[in-house]
């Protein structure tokens, strides 16, 4: 069994578990919606202002949502101590991380894609013709959030006050993701949209660096 086939099987398990209840997805989507609506009270949501502040607020909402949504990915395994079983089942513990990162990226991306038209309609922001660029940005940003977030969720799951601890550890670490994805999204939603490739490159660098770190140190995070 190779690393990827292991990870693929585990990814299937993560997705099946979630889609049985869909509780993670539905709560996260409602959470993002609430945050986006509340944000509209903090500035005058005219088209110009929204273009300037909207993408940043949207990414901030995604970041907050992720710091809540990533909590259960290891806590779920603690209830019946299924993590030990998983560790025994796969030869490389990195497969467990890959599966969880894949699932978290997928859930985050689904939330973001459902929120995008709502956001565009509410704040009168247009992304016409820029969908491929936006999809790429959302994917790379969510991947970065999931890689760092899954690693830190494995840490916070073993501590007290874990619900508060994860955002505390995660949000400062994700500052570069917030800056880069906001800048790319702003340029894509502007009056003269263009693709900011250096931002995309930056997101790729973040993702690769943290994936490598997790590949090197991941097994220690799961030690008993």
């Amino acid at each position: 069994m190779g690393l990827l086939s292991n990870a693929g099987a585990l990814l299937g398990k993560e997705v099946r578990t979630e889609f049985r209840s869909r509780e993670l997805l539905s709560t996260t989507i409602v959470f993002v919606l609430i945050v986006v609506v509340l944000f509209s009270f903090t500035f005058d949501p005219t088209a110009n202002e929204s273009r300037r502040f909207g993408p940043g607020l949207l990414w901030l909402a995604f970041l907050f949502a992720a710091s809540l949504m990533l909590q259960p990915c290891f806590l779920r395994e603690q209830v019946n101590d299924t993590l030990s079983a998983l560790r025994l089942a796969v030869s490389d513990p990195f497969a467990i991380f890959l599966a969880k990162i894949g699932a978290n990226t997928l859930f985050l991306l689904l939330t973001e894609l459902l929120m995008l038209p709502v956001f565009a309609a509410l704040f009168n922001v247009s992304f016409r013709g820029q969908l491929p660029g936006i999809l790429l940005t959302f994917f790379l940003g969510s991947l970065g959030i999931s890689v760092a977030g899954t690693a830190l969720a494995a840490i916070s799951a073993q501590a007290r006050m874990r619900e508060l601890l994860l955002p505390l550890l995660l949000l400062p670490l994700l500052a570069p993701i917030l800056v880069a994805s906001t800048e790319v999204t702003v340029s894509l939603m502007g009056p003269e949209p263009f693709m900011q490739w250096k931002g995309i490159g930056f997101l790729v660098v973040f993702d690769v660096v943290f994936l490598t770190a997790l590949w090197l140190f991941g097994e220690y995070l799961l030690e008993e």
Binding site: A148, A151, L152, I155, Q158, A159, R160, M161, L165, L168, L169, P172, L173, A175, P176, V179, A180, E183, K198, F202, V205, F206, V209, F210, A213, F217, Y220, L221, E223
Partner: protein
């Protein structure tokens, strides 16, 4: 004990000497006058803090690799001392910035990444208080320390790229960018003094952590018997 006393005395004397040099030996800066003298203190603290975090990062790596308790003690000592120095930097910076720039704070790359660095290591210290079991605490905090340390250059890159379109601080853009020849000896002396002081603090903190772990061990033994 004698060695520690000696190191402590040397550190304190060196810092006093550096303070004297920065006030009375270094030449007066032309435009900012006496205000510029905080620079010797501010930048040497920043460098000492960064050195402490770098040693802490090495200690974290060594802990994950070797699993010796002493690396955990060294790691937490370095981070605490680094946070203390960075706090001094974050306070002394605005004291200088208000009269020099007219504002306390600007979201420039160096300031912002120092702030994020400080926040990350505060989270590291908080994380340590929330895990009871010593081995687990050591391992998980070492791993978080590693992630935090590799994040810092990325934060700096991001903010430098996108957030520093405004003219960055012109005066004293970098420690070597405009430093007059007469200031160089005082500056490096201050950096050296602060590093000795940092080392003294780390050594003290390390022995405290070691003692704490010994006490914990004794308490556990007492409970068993």
């Amino acid at each position: 004990m004698a060695k520690r006393m000696l190191l402590g005395a040397a550190a304190v004397l060196l810092v006093i000497a550096a303070a004297y040099a920065s006030f009375f030996v270094a030449p007066q800066e032309r435009t900012m006058g006496v205000l510029q003298r905080i620079f010797y203190f501010h930048v040497s603290c920043a460098w000492a803090g960064l050195t402490a975090f770098s040693i802490g990062f090495l200690a974290n790596l060594l802990y994950v690799w070797k699993r010796k308790q002493k690396y955990d003690w060294l790691g937490v000592s370095c981070v605490e001392v680094g946070v203390a120095f960075t706090t001094v930097v974050l306070i002394s910076g605005p004291i200088w910035a208000k009269p020099a720039w007219g504002i306390y704070w600007t979201w420039d790359a160096r300031l912002t990444s120092t702030f994020i660095l400080w926040l990350l290591y505060i989270s590291y210290l908080l994380l340590r208080t929330l895990i009871e079991e010593p081995d687990r605490r050591a391992l998980l905090s070492a791993l978080f320390g590693i992630f935090a340390f590799i994040d810092v250059p990325i934060v700096f890159g991001a903010i430098r790229w996108w957030r520093t379109q405004h003219p960055a601080p012109v005066i004293m853009g970098g420690p070597n960018s405009g430093l007059a020849a007469g200031m160089v000896p005082t500056f490096f002396f201050a950096v050296f003094a602060m590093h000795v002081f940092m080392w003294f603090l780390i050594a003290e903190r390390y022995s405290l952590e070691k003692m704490r772990s010994d006490v914990e061990l004794l308490r556990q033994e007492a409970e068993v018997t």
